[in-house]
Structure formats: structure tokens, C-alpha cells
């Protein structure tokens, strides 16, 4: 402990006369951001090397030369006086912005970055209202850099964040700056597109509208999007994401910073994971003996079935996509054996800065272990069915594409055994068994997942489910209530409280609300980073857009006065 304190010597300094402390060796920009003082910057990003090329963070320092210094490359010295808002500093900043906008097309009305663009933001905050520029603008090309990323050279400010990301984080090096002077732009080698598993992050890092995610562009203006702080269900990494939706439909998913989990990144596969919720194969209606019925009818049939069967004769089957709360309910309401199906392993990827994209494509495998302990893939359930010991199986299958049960189990299930199925997909079980309810995708439900390193994190419903979908928690609790397990149907938080009480070894001391935006480690987990160490610098997220308003509050839409006086704009605080 004493060692770390000596390493982290604090250096007092001032910004605009106000006293702050920096850690030894910290730059002015880092220290300012850490203290909550925002100095505008483009090319600097905590994960990347210092390029110092945008010149946006110019400040004057004393002691220091008479000319302005870039805050991102100036180390704080003891007693340093940083001048970040005097007239000469602001004039320098204005000048830089005017240069940046000289050849910029100023096409905000048709630019997808508009609304979360640092060029817009800083121009509004620090820029001039007019420009001296009256020449013909230099034209630079527009092209696709890869399957996901579209490049608009005219908007590019050559901060090289994207190039450095591919060099220093993914290590794949697809991007480069070609040519020089103002006719330089970002390009790939012909035939070697930007196609690494994290290519979408380059669009997040781009502070302007030069690199855009072609999956998302031309869909929604960003100020219409409502962000929900959730967790990606694509793999066991559990990347913290903003699920951004408009009109009850998810438009894109972008990463949120969480150092021990996903740094600032998320993979392209994860970005697309919300599409699993909008497939044609989804079950969006309750079924009774295969026929679509009203939810209430199906529920009544299920309750009859459930109460007619002794608890010891009820088994359950679930997947690595079930939340901890669902797992807990399944275990509570049944006395028979349980089985869990996992998605097969997929591609893994590790960045140079230590972000691990897991090969395990199940978001809650660690949660299964923590809640259920030792469960198999359904072997005991099969034996129970075959021996006639099990008469009813509760199937809770929220795995996109449907769980892939073992052949023996499938044969057993095809028999006379009865089943109550809650399923994301319209699987054969849902179509052939007694009762089926539509399940929820991770972007539609609340609950918790435990990631590969034992971090318990909250998923939050960002959009509502299609049709008359009540979801797993609701159905399972109704079943359990009929058997006298619970007095009433609770929210995910309520179920979690029960879970924490039931499994104090793993979940003791944790509260649903206390998990916050970045989650908390389970007892004995590999990742024990406390919540306040998960984020590095104030307003320096993975995404320039994280500095924008939409991330400040989750799902709180408010109406506020438009600065232009045209009535009100709908958006987030």
C-alpha cells in the first residue's frame, strides 16, 4: 500500500487560478479531465499514443514558453499555472477551429454525426461565427474502408485516431494516412479492407463524421435516439453498451467505457447482436398445443399443468442466455433436475491493450455456475424423462436461434413428457409442446449477467418486446406464485434481492441498484475492480459521442427549451 502511495505522488497545480492536483507524470489534459475540467481535444484518447496533431488543446503554461503548448503532451510540474481560458488561449483555439473548418464541407444537415460531433460541439463552444475562408474547398475522396466503415474524406480532420486504433489496439494496421498536406486522407491498401473484429470502434473514435458505421447511417438523427446503459449479450465478455433506440426500435449499439470489462471497445458482432431480436423466426405469440392463443389462455393452461404436477416431477432446461434472476426462479419453482445448453464457441480476439473478446458466446455462463452450481447439459433431465420420473419440463430458452439440445434429450422431449416453453425463437418445442410463451431478448429485458471474469452487470430493457410478450420473469413468477413460492410477482430487482438472500456466498452484499452502470464483482471473482475505478477520465469515453448529452441519464427523456427558440426539442438531459 505504501508503495502505491509513493508512486502516485500528487502534484499541485492550477488551471485558470483554481487549484487542482495531478498525479506525478500526468499531462495537463489528463489531470484536467480527471479533475473534471474539460479542455477540448480531438486527437488525444486515453487508449492511444499521443499524436498531438489536432492542436485543439492548446493552453498557455507558466513556467513554459511564450507560445501555447498542447495540453496532451505537457507534463504537469509542481505549481504550474495553466491558462486554459484567457483571451489569448481562446483566440488560439478559435484559430484552430477556423483552420479545421476551412476545407470542411459544413454539411451537418446531411451528416449522420451531427448532434454528436465534436467539430460541431467545439465550434459552438469555442468557434467563430464567420470564416475568412473564401477559396475553393479541397476535395478528398469518399469510399468504403471496409464492410462496416464508410469514409468521407472531406469531413476528416486527420486526427489519426482511427489509424492509431488499428495500429495500437487491434494491431491489424489496415488504415494509414496517404499523401500529405491538405490532400492527405485515410485509406486502406487496395484489397485489404478494414475488416477486423473491432472495426466499428473506428467510427466511435472518429470525433467527426468522417468514419461512419454503414450499418447505422441514414437511419436516425442522433438526438432522437434514446440510450440505455446495458450489457451486450453476444459473448461472455459482457461489454458495457449503450443500446440506442428510436421509436421503440434499436438503431445501434455503442460501447461504454468499463476498464476491467471492455476498456472502451466492443466488437462488430456485438454491435449487430440487437438484430437477433428482430428476426422473422421469433416467437411473438403464446401457443397452446401449437396454436396461437391469448397470453391469458396460455397462462391458465400452464398454471393448470404446473399445479397438477408435483414439484419433484418438474425439471427445467435453460441456456447460457438466461439472466441470473431467471435461473434463480427456475431453480426455485422446480424440484427436479435442470439442464443448461450453451452456444458453441466462436471467434475469440484479444487486442494489444488487453480487451478480450471471448470465444464463449454465452453471456451468462458464469452466472449459471454462480446461481445453479453444478448443472449438466440436460443428461439428468433426459434420464428423468426416460425413467418416467419427470412429467413436466419448464423450458426457458432465450438463446438466439434456439438452444441446440443433445440428440438424446431431443428424443426424450419428443415423447409424452409435458412442457411449458418460454422461448425467444419459434422453436419446434414451442410449436409442438403443450404451452409456449414468447421470451425476451437481452435488449428487451431487465436482469443481470455475470461475465467471464465474474463481474455482475445489469442488462436493461431498451425497447419493448414484439406482440404480447410478458417475458420469462413474469411467466416463471406466475407459475411459482401458483405453487406458493412467492406472494407476488416482482420486478427483476426484486427477484435479485431474493437471489442474493438465497445465495449469499456469491451474491451476498450486492444490491440490484448498487450495480449501477459498470457492475460489481461477485465474491471471489477474477475481476475485483471497484466501480469507481472502471472509468478513467471525465468525458473521455470510447466514443466521442459519449460526451454528448444522451449518455448522461439513462432513459430519461425530457423536454427542454430549444436554444434557437423553435419550441422544444425532445431528447435526453
Amino acid at each position: 500500500m505504501s508503495e502505491t502511495t509513493t508512486e502516485r505522488l500528487e502534484v499541485p497545480f492550477t488551471i485558470d487560478g483554481a487549484s487542482y492536483t495531478a498525479l506525478k507524470g500526468e499531462t495537463v489534459l489528463e489531470a484536467a479531465l480527471r479533475n473534471g475540467y474539460f479542455i477540448p481535444h480531438y486527437c488525444w484518447h486515453p487508449s492511444l499514443s499521443i499524436a498531438g496533431n489536432c492542436r485543439m488543446c492548446l493552453v498557455h503554461t507558466k513556467p513554459g514558453p511564450p507560445k501555447p503548448q498542447i495540453a496532451c503532451n505537457t507534463v504537469v510540474s509542481e505549481g504550474m499555472e495553466v491558462d486554459a481560458s484567457s483571451e489569448k488561449t481562446l483566440t488560439a483555439r478559435e484559430g484552430i477551429l477556423e483552420f479545421l473548418l476551412a476545407n470542411h464541407p459544413l454539411d451537418c444537415p446531411i451528416c449522420d454525426q451531427a448532434g454528436e460531433c465534436d467539430l460541431q460541439q467545439y465550434s459552438f463552444d469555442h468557434g467563430r461565427t464567420t470564416s475568412k475562408f473564401s477559396e475553393i474547398k479541397t476535395q478528398r475522396p469518399r469510399h468504403d474502408l471496409g464492410p462496416r466503415i464508410r469514409f468521407n474524406g472531406n469531413r476528416c480532420i486527420l486526427c489519426t485516431r482511427c489509424v492509431r486504433f488499428c495500429d495500437e489496439v487491434t494491431g491489424t494496421g489496415e488504415l494509414t494516412v496517404v499523401n500529405r498536406s491538405d490532400s492527405a486522407w485515410i485509406d486502406v491498401f487496395p484489397g485489404v479492407p478494414l475488416d477486423n473484429p473491432l472495426s466499428g470502434c473506428t467510427a466511435d473514435l472518429c470525433p467527426v463524421g468522417a468514419l461512419l458505421d454503414s450499418d447505422w447511417i441514414h437511419t436516425t438523427r442522433v438526438w432522437l435516439l434514446r440510450g440505455t446503459k446495458s450489457v451486450c449479450s453476444g459473448c461472455a465478455t459482457g461489454c458495457n453498451v449503450n443500446v440506442e433506440a428510436f421509436d421503440d426500435s434499436v438503431k445501434r449499439m455503442t460501447p461504454r467505457e468499463n476498464q476491467p470489462v471492455n476498456k472502451w471497445w466492443m466488437c462488430d458482432e456485438g454491435r449487430d447482436s440487437h438484430r437477433e431480436a428482430t428476426t422473422d423466426s421469433r416467437l411473438n405469440v403464446a401457443r397452446l398445443d401449437g396454436q396461437p392463443v391469448k397470453h391469458q389462455d396460455a397462462l391458465e393452461a400452464a398454471l393448470d399443468l404446473f399445479s397438477a404436477t408435483p414439484a419433484a416431477k418438474i425439471a427445467y432446461l435453460t441456456t447460457g442466455h438466461a439472466t441470473c434472476e431467471e435461473l434463480h426462479l427456475l431453480e426455485t419453482i422446480t424440484d427436479g433436475p435442470g439442464g443448461v445448453n450453451y452456444r458453441p464457441d466462436g471467434g475469440a480476439f484479444e487486442t494489444l491493450d488487453g480487451f478480450k473478446l471471448s470465444a464463449d458466446k454465452n453471456p451468462n455462463r458464469a452466472g449459471v455456475v454462480a446461481v445453479l452450481g453444478d448443472v449438466d447439459a440436460g443428461e439428468r433431465v433426459r434420464k428423468g424423462i426416460e425413467s418416467g420420473q419427470i412429467e413436466l419440463v419448464v423450458v426457458c430458452d432465450s438463446q438466439p436461434g434456439g438452444a441446440n439440445w443433445d440428440e438424446g434429450l431431443v428424443e426424450a422431449l419428443k415423447g409424452d413428457v409435458k412442457a411449458i416453453v418460454i422461448s425467444l425463437e419459434d422453436t419446434w418445442l414451442a410449436q409442438t409442446k403443450q404451452v409456449a410463451f414468447p421470451g425476451l431478448h437481452a435488449i428487451e429485458k431487465d436482469g443481470t449477467f455475470v461475465n467471464q471474469n465474474g463481474r455482475l452487470q445489469r442488462v436493461r430493457a431498451a425497447v419493448s418486446a414484439p406482440g404480447d410478450t410478458r417475458g420469462e420473469l413474469d411467466v416463471l413468477q406466475e407459475l411459482g406464485r401458483s405453487a406458493g413460492h412467492f406472494p407476488r410477482v416482482l420486478s427483476a430487482g426484486g427477484v435479485f434481492r431474493r437471489l442474493a438472500a438465497a445465495s449469499p456466498d456469491a451474491f451476498g452484499g450486492l444490491t440490484y441498484r448498487g450495480l449501477g452502470a459498470v457492475g460489481l464483482p461477485l465474491a471471489g471473482a477474477a475481476d475485483q475492480t471497484p466501480a469507481d475505478k472502471c472509468q478513467t477520465y471525465y468525458n473521455a469515453g470510447p466514443v466521442s459521442r459519449e460526451t454528448r448529452a444522451q449518455d448522461e441519464q439513462t432513459r430519461v427523456a425530457v423536454h427542454r427549451e430549444s436554444p434557437l427558440g423553435y419550441g422544444t426539442v425532445r431528447g435526453n438531459v
Binding site: 507560445k67 486527420l158 494509414t176 491498401f189
Partner: protein
């Protein structure tokens, strides 16, 4: 302006033969990192496949374990690689201001007409490609062009026509090396008549002992003198032997005491720079001495003379420098355009290896000392200290952030000293002749007590000047610091006055990035402090002269076009500002200027200066503001009338020259 990727051909499958692979393997051994060999290996690919196309880039990337995109980025940063569309003979015509002042624009027009193609194009027979080139370091011999990087000098359209015809007649056997000329070998300067005496009483900071035999330029313009034997016969490597008897700290101290200031442009004291190298205890690992032979500042052609005519003078100085800072590796970064220079340096280094100057047991000290020539590939910014380091590391030649300064963390993260060729060439003389002899040359240092305006560091030691433009005798002059600038230009002993008996309009005293001095300001002393007091700087000692007919708008556009082309594109103000101001002055030049534009020039310069990583922003701001302010009426007249009194021409050609051009 064209903003497409240069034509880079198809991604053909290519392979290096076993011999070439072996060659590359040997090359890699000369550097601590394989990546550093990127430019040399690209040169090899260029040689093997005729050009650097996408296929060879991919092969090079694979060979050096780099990503293809990285290699593409590097190749497109440099302009001197052959493109797949280039003809057998690439003719690069220098269009930069010093050449333009001596008729390169008319010459270039004639070249295009003679070959029947536009600049950038290739003749139908695939034999010739013509390109615009930036300063080719032969401004005294303008107009010049390079044919496959071999210099052809003192050209007119007649001789050029003959050159083309000769090549056409014998494309395979034609000797391209025969184009060099030495028309103005003005290496001497000393004259007792110029001698001055130090006034009694008050110390004159500009006092100079003018009795001065050529020192640095003594052996120039003599192809025989370049060999090791000839150099030793003329007293070469004596200084080195004397220096080696001293401790490294003593060598640094003597260099500090000598007042030797960097000759590359900034004039930073050489000994002080060496002193910044931390001790081995503080920063372990190798030290590197880099020789900056990337002479590219328009108007400068002194370093090329050292390189081509007296390479051992550089090597001796470099060894002294390496000894002082404890370096075992010397890299000479030479401009890609200087093909003959690179070849001659290679020969000289080989001789030095043979004679035990370099090698495993260098100088009998039992330590290794290696010297490597590293060819650039056509980027002005690589003459900047940290741009050079980036380029040597095999990267795009982007200047690096300071701190860390190169002396502490330079090339490959190790302490590095970058010295100009001429700075190092001073060292053999300093150590051979001694401190007293050395400090007697030039203007003295003035003690701090005297506190003259800027006279503290003084300007000591011999100095070579390059004079070009509208003078009777342009060339290289070995004249000590302190001579009057007007005297240098107008005296018959030196440049012989402005050509054609015309009046002097202005002089740029230190390369095109420096502020211009008007006719009223040129009575200054030609030394660091004297020119600084006159409001400019001696920079790289490239002096070019404007006669009274020069159109300043046109001249400024030429300068700005150069810096726009050469801005590395890294920092916002320089990247955007250089393009902006060039377009703006171009607009004035085409008759569409407004009076507000003149204020914009001022504001742009003000907003860019001091806000970038290197000083390239200053390099275009200083000429822009100084030309505009000092010749404002001319700019205003141009804006009002839409043209100059010379109908938009850069200058009025001399009658005799226009005659010969017609002929």
C-alpha cells in the same frame, strides 16, 4: 490540384530473388530495427521492378513484416519513387523560386513543348516522363533538371533539346552522369582590402577579421579531391587524431568554446546540443549520430558540395561528433534526389572502412563504429530534425512532439544528435588548427555583461554561403561571418552585383522560409546576430536576390506553393493554413484578389505561427507576411489592376537571356 492517389498500378504477385533477399538481409543488419530499412528496401524494389507499384509495396510489406497499408502510407508521403506510369527517363524540372528567378518557368514550358506532353505525363514511346521538382540544390546553375536523379545543370532549351535527342538516339548506353557543371567555382573570398580593425574601446559585435582563406570550400569543384588519399594529403584526419587524444568531455567543451553554431538553419550551438546527451548511467543503450544531409531548403546548395566534392570532410567531422557523444552508429540521411552524392558518400565510407576509420576496431580503439548512408525519397520535411528521425525509422517523415527532445529520446528511443553536414565539416578544422585559430574567424561572442541586442552567441568559424537569383555570379562562397550583405552581393570580388546592371529589390538571406530584406535593409552584417537585427535570419545561408523587375506576388506564390506541397499534413494550422494561403495568393495572382485578402494573410500567419509541432508554419508565414508588408503597395496595385506591371511574369528576363532562349 489533383487529389487522387497517384497511379500505383495493380497488385501484382512479385517476389525478390535470392540475391536480393540476401542484400536486404545485409541491409537490415545495419539498423537496430528491420522497419528502418523500409525506404532502402523500397529503393531496391524500385530498381528490381522498375517502379514502386502496389505489387512491390505488398512484397516489401511482407519482407519487412509490416502491414501493406503502412507501406502505402509511407510511399505516398514521399514523392521521389518511380510510379508505374513513369517512362524510362524521368525528367524532373526544378520550378522552385531560385530556379524560377533564373528562367525555369520558360524553360519548363519549352521542355513540355519539346516533348509534346504536359507535366506529369509520359511520351507515347514510354521514354520520357516530365515532373515538377522542388529545389534540386543547384540554384546557381539554374535552370536545372534531374534525369533519373542525375543532375543536368545550366540548361537552356537548346542543350535540353540536344540531351533529349541524344537519349533518344542511344537510350541504353547514354551516360546520364555528364550533366554536372561547375560554372561559378567561387570558393575564395579573402581579400586584405576588406580587412577591418577592431575599434578601440567599445567592442564591435560585428567585427570580423576578413583575412580569410577558403577553409570549408577549399577543396570544392575538384573531382580528384574527393578520394581518401587526396584528403589525407591535404591534411585530412589530422583534426580527428588530435580530437581522439582528448576525452569526449573535452571535445564537447572545445566545441562549446569554439562558438560553433548549427549550420542547418536554427543556429543552435553545437557543443551545447551535444552536452544535452544524458550520461550512460542515466540513459543506457546506444547513442546515435545522424548527419542531416537532407538539404532541401529552396536556395540552399552548400551541403551538396561537401557531399559530392569533399565527403571525407563530413566523415571526419561525424567521427569526431560520434566520439564526443559516445556513438557507435552514424547514419547519414541524404536527400533521395542526390543520387551522385549518395554514391560518392558510399565510396568515401568504403575507403574509410578500408583505412580503419570505421569497422569493428575503429581507429584502433577496439570499439565498433559504423556509418550508413540512408537515402530519403523526396520530402522537404525530413530535413527537420525529428522529421528526419521519423523517416530514418522507416515511417512517414512526420516531425515528432517535443519533449522528449532527440538528445534524450531520439531515433529508436535512444539519445540522438542530428547535425548538419556543414556543422560537422567545421570540426576537422577546429580540432586541427585549434581553438584560437577557429575563434578568430567570424564575429566574436560578446560577453553577457556587454549585452548587445542579440550578440551573445556570436558567429564563429568559417561559413559557406550560397548565392543565387539575379546576380552576375551566383555560387558557393566561403566568406567569413560579418561581411556586409550588400558587399557580398555587389562587390566585384564576390557576386559582382545584380545582373544586367539592374537595381536591387530585395534579398532573402537564409532560404525561402526566411523574411525578405529590402534594398534599404541589406546593409547588415552577414552573421547570425547581424541578420537577426535586420529582422530576418541567415537560416541555411541560402541568399537569393531579386532585381527591380521581380513581381513579389508571383514570387510569394512560388514560395507558398512549395510549402503547401511540402507540409507533412500533421498539424491542423499548417496543413490547412498552407493550402489556404496558397489558394489565396493564387487568387490574387489570377486577378481576383481583394484588399481584405492582405489582412487575411496577416491573420492566417498569426494564427498558425507557434501552434504547430515543427516550424513549417513559420516557414510559409514569414515570407508571406514579410513580402506582403514590405512590398504592400505592389500587392495593392496587383489587386486593383488584376496584374503586375510585368504582365504577371515573375521578372523581366534579361535581353541577352531572352535572345538565347529564343535561339
Amino acid at each position: 490540384m489533383s487529389h487522387a492517389l497517384p497511379v500505383l498500378g495493380d497488385v501484382l504477385e512479385r517476389t525478390f530473388s535470392a540475391e536480393v533477399q540476401a542484400e536486404i538481409a545485409t541491409l537490415i543488419k545495419r539498423y537496430p530495427e528491420a522497419k528502418a530499412t523500409l525506404l532502402p528496401v523500397l529503393r531496391i524494389a524500385e530498381r528490381e521492378f522498375g517502379s514502386v507499384d502496389l505489387g512491390s509495396m505488398k512484397l516489401v510489406a511482407k519482407t519487412l513484416d509490416l502491414s501493406p497499408a503502412y507501406v502505402l502510407g509511407v510511399v505516398t508521403f514521399y514523392f521521389h519513387f518511380r510510379r508505374p506510369t513513369d517512362g524510362t527517363f524521368v525528367i524532373e524540372v526544378c520550378r522552385t523560386l531560385p530556379c524560377a528567378l533564373r528562367g525555369s518557368d520558360a524553360f519548363a514550358e519549352g521542355v513540355a513543348k519539346k516533348l509534346g506532353i504536359e507535366f506529369g505525363g509520359t511520351t507515347d514511346d514510354g521514354l520520357f516522363t516530365i515532373k515538377n521538382a522542388e529545389c534540386l540544390a543547384a540554384c546557381d546553375k539554374a535552370p536545372v533538371c534531374h534525369v533519373n536523379a542525375y543532375s543536368w545543370e545550366c540548361l537552356d532549351l537548346e542543350t535540353f533539346g540536344k540531351l533529349v535527342d541524344d537519349i533518344r538516339a542511344n537510350p541504353d548506353g547514354f551516360d546520364l552522369t555528364t550533366g554536372r557543371k561547375t560554372p561559378y567555382p567561387w570558393r575564395a573570398a579573402a581579400d586584405p582590402e576588406c580587412e577591418r580593425t577592431q575599434p578601440e574601446g567599445e567592442l564591435d559585435p560585428y567585427y570580423t577579421a576578413m583575412t580569410h582563406e577558403p577553409v570549408l570550400a577549399k577543396r570544392f569543384f575538384n573531382d580528384e579531391a574527393a578520394s581518401y588519399e587526396a584528403y589525407v594529403k591535404d591534411g585530412g584526419y589530422v583534426g580527428l587524431k588530435k580530437a581522439l587524444k582528448l576525452k569526449p568531455e573535452e571535445v564537447i567543451q572545445i566545441t562549446k568554446d569554439s562558438g560553433l553554431r548549427g549550420r542547418g538553419g536554427a543556429g543552435f550551438p553545437c557543443g551545447m546540443k551535444w552536452g544535452f546527451v544524458p550520461s550512460v548511467e542515466k540513459v543506457p543503450g546506444p547513442r546515435y549520430l545522424l548527419v542531416n544531409a537532407d538539404e532541401s531548403e529552396p536556395g540552399t546548395f552548400k551541403d551538396i558540395r561537401f557531399i559530392e566534392d569533399d565527403p571525407h570532410q563530413i566523415l571526419e567531422g561525424a567521427v569526431i561528433g560520434a566520439y564526443a557523444i559516445g556513438s557507435n552508429d552514424i547514419y547519414i540521411y541524404i536527400r533521395g534526389e542526390m543520387r551522385i552524392g549518395a554514391d560518392r558518400l558510399e565510396v568515401a565510407i568504403e575507403e574509410a572502412y578500408k583505412n580503419g576509420i570505421f569497422g569493428e576496431n575503429a581507429l584502433g580503439f577496439g570499439v565498433r563504429l559504423d556509418c550508413t548512408v540512408h537515402r530519403g525519397a523526396g520530402a522537404y520535411i525530413c530535413g527537420e530534425e525529428t522529421g528526419l528521425i521519423s523517416s530514418l525509422e522507416g515511417k512517414r517523415g512526420l516531425p515528432k512532439l517535443k519533449p522528449p527532445f532527440p538528445a534524450v529520446e531520439g531515433v529508436w528511443g535512444q539519445p540522438t544528435i542530428v547535425n548538419n553536414v556543414e556543422t560537422l565539416a567545421n570540426l576537422p578544422h577546429l580540432f586541427r588548427e585549434g581553438l584560437e585559430w577557429y575563434t578568430a574567424i567570424g564575429t566574436p561572442r560578446v560577453s553577457k555583461e556587454v549585452a548587445p541586442p542579440r550578440g551573445r552567441l556570436g558567429s564563429q568559424g568559417p561559413k559557406v554561403w550560397c548565392v543565387s537569383g539575379h546576380v552576375n555570379r551566383p555560387g558557393v562562397y566561403d566568406v567569413p561571418f560579418g561581411v556586409s550583405l550588400r558587399e557580398l552581393i555587389e562587390s566585384d570580388k564576390f557576386c559582382g552585383g545584380v545582373w544586367g546592371g539592374r537595381k536591387l529589390k530585395g534579398i532573402v538571406p537564409g532560404g525561402s522560409s526566411m523574411k525578405i530584406l529590402t534594398n534599404d535593409e541589406v546593409d547588415c552584417h552577414l552573421c547570425y546576430d547581424g541578420v537577426a537585427d535586420a529582422g530576418s535570419s541567415i537560416g541555411s545561408a541560402a541568399i537569393f536576390v531579386f532585381d527591380e523587375t521581380t513581381c513579389m506576388v508571383n514570387a510569394l506564390y512560388n514560395v507558398l506553393r512549395f510549402y503547401d506541397h511540402e507540409s507533412c499534413g500533421q498539424c491542423t494550422p499548417c496543413r490547412e493554413g498552407a493550402g489556404w494561403i496558397t489558394k489565396l495568393v493564387g487568387r490574387i495572382l489570377h486577378g481576383h484578389g481583394t484588399m481584405d485578402d492582405l489582412d487575411t494573410i496577416d491573420k492566417l500567419s498569426d494564427e498558425a505561427c507557434g501552434k504547430t509541432i515543427c516550424v513549417l508554419a513559420e516557414a510559409w508565414s514569414w515570407p508571406a507576411t514579410s513580402y506582403m508588408h514590405k512590398y504592400r503597395s505592389e500587392f495593392e496595385t496587383y489587386i486593383k489592376t488584376g496584374t503586375s506591371r510585368f504582365a504577371g511574369r515573375l521578372y523581366e528576363p534579361l535581353p541577352s537571356l531572352s535572345k538565347s532562349a529564343k535561339a
